[in-house]
Amino acid sequence: MAQVTIEHLGKTFSEGTEAVRDLSLEIGDGELVVLVGPSGCGKTTTLRMVAGLEETTSGTITIGDRVVNHLPPRERDIAMVFQNYALYPHKTVYENLAFPLKLRRLSKPEIDDRVRRSARLLGLEDLLGRKPRQLSGGQRQRVAMGRAIVREPQAFLMDEPLSNLDAKLRTQMRAEIHRLQRELQATTIYVTHDQVEAMTLGDRVALLRKGELQQMATPQELYDKPTNVFVAGFIGSPAMNFVGAELGRRDGHLEVTFGQQSLRLHESEARPGLEAYIGRRCVLGIRPEHLEDAALESGAPADRRFRGKVEVREGLGSEVVVHFQVEAPPTLTEDVRELALDVDAAALADLEREQQLHETVFVGRFGASTKAAEGDAVEVVAEHGALHFFDAESGRRISL
């Protein structure tokens, strides 16, 4: 396996769309890097450029110690797993796996040995004689993986390989890919729009937006320290709550005010960088899992509580997801708009309506014993370390 380096990569399509802009990534030997982002963020285009299926407009791609920009796909020594698997429908599973080896003019016994080894690794031994159309979705997925593995390439490229599977199977195959990747120590670039896949699979995750890299970090860092509103809103489910807020100081402590309500900042949240924002507007972000029904946390201090009105209650058994209205204007930065639009055009319309009403809908993941009912007023506690602050103009995280 080899290291893959992408430097200042750019792609502009002939009709003028700029799909990727100045993208630099380094994928270490044996590392799995996930490219994630909403549709149209350039992740698949990037992958196809690495594969050689799409020409680069600028920048260089290096696999191992070779610059491969001008090499055709067949000379790049990489394997790709396609979203629709792209199995050869007229060939059996065995022939599908053997095809890349046959083209490399390997000897018959060697081909047979490698095909059977890959088949064993993926549990495909009993299916070698079947045609792709006689296989289930999960089996086809495995064959596609097998065809990639059998070649022992420099790197694996995976283009949303799980998106055609149903939810249960997806979870299972995700674990399978994880296991294989660790076992083979395979350098892998994995493209997905599913942030759960990104978080669970990636050694590191690169989040793209409109062809530009937003942040590249470990999943945990991405979750804990999102570099801007876009990253914060994209990672995590349900998504982070955002509200327009103002920083101030009372009794020597920093506090944040949204609408008529205030929260006192905990030591873990009070960064020196925030001093500069006192008296200025900013964006406050709180993840749903860091909110709790105050009735379940009797010991929580009053200055970490705020009130809302319950709109929707979704019981999940282990927890209750509660949507509640808070009297404060929502933030409608470009980032937030795009995040909403990635969900649906209707989601954006909802946001715009909320802004006119000066209401923000928060989502909280409360304990299963919460009594919060639709239409009721609810008091909510923000856990320590829950508050994230972003610049209202640039959307950037206020760090330090």
Binding site: A51, R74, R147
Partner: protein, 307 residues
Amino acid sequence: MALGADATRRRLSQTASSWVDRHFRWLLVSPAVVLILALTIFPLGYAIWVAFVTYDFNIPGHAWRGIDNFKEVVTDPNARKAIATTAWLATAAVAIELVIGLLLALAMVRPFRGRRWLIPIFLLPLFMSPVIVGQFWALLLTEPFGPTNWLLGAISGSDVNIRWTTQTPWAYFSILLADAWQWTPFMFVILLAGLSAIPDDLYSAADLDGARPRQAFFFVTLPLLLPVMLVAVAFRVIDAAKIFDVIYVLTKGGPGTDTYTASYYLYEQGFQLFHLGRGTAGAWMFMILLSVVSYWLVRRLLKPVEA
């Protein structure tokens, strides 16, 4: 009384309407049934009878001949030659159409400027009557007024005097030319549809697997196109075996009997020589032969589709 008559009338109209209700579907299909009976079943039955009797415009009466009509056709060297000519002309025509159609389809499968206009133009010959096609090739080829010889002469710089429709190898060439000109678009459009149905990702996968374009063609395109290709070939072979119009217009079966096909031979027997009994017997045999060949073709050629 008046009341009773009224009730009777009502009952009568009720039975009538319920009869109509119950049999309405038959009323609806009856015109079609009558039409099929008159135009297909009756002529077919009549033709069986004709094949076994003397049915000749020059000979009065319809004496029973048993299988003599059939014997005469089978022993006629012209009939045998016509079958052979039909076989090889149909094979050659379909082969030419397949190759050119495939090349055209390969060239046109990727979008390019003007493709939207080019495809309908390519398909135009398909919509023309074969008689018209034969006629305009006759106008183009036949000396002394056809421009073909003049054009070839101008290109080669010497006099060209090919008798396109009355000289032996050239008459075949003319027929193949006219048939291919008309039917290549058929192959083209079916193969184009077949090619468009092959997902792009398969070519990407083949490319990454290490296949060169030529290998991708032989290992991906051809096997995936094969079922469609076989269907198109089966259709065309069956159709080409019945070729008549172009020959009637271009060569009239000549020179001599060189371009007699089965259809042309039967036409001559029936409507030039007025041996309708013999012609009908031949037509029956040809139909059975063609059915057997078609059945074999369809079974044999379509097998890979099922596998």
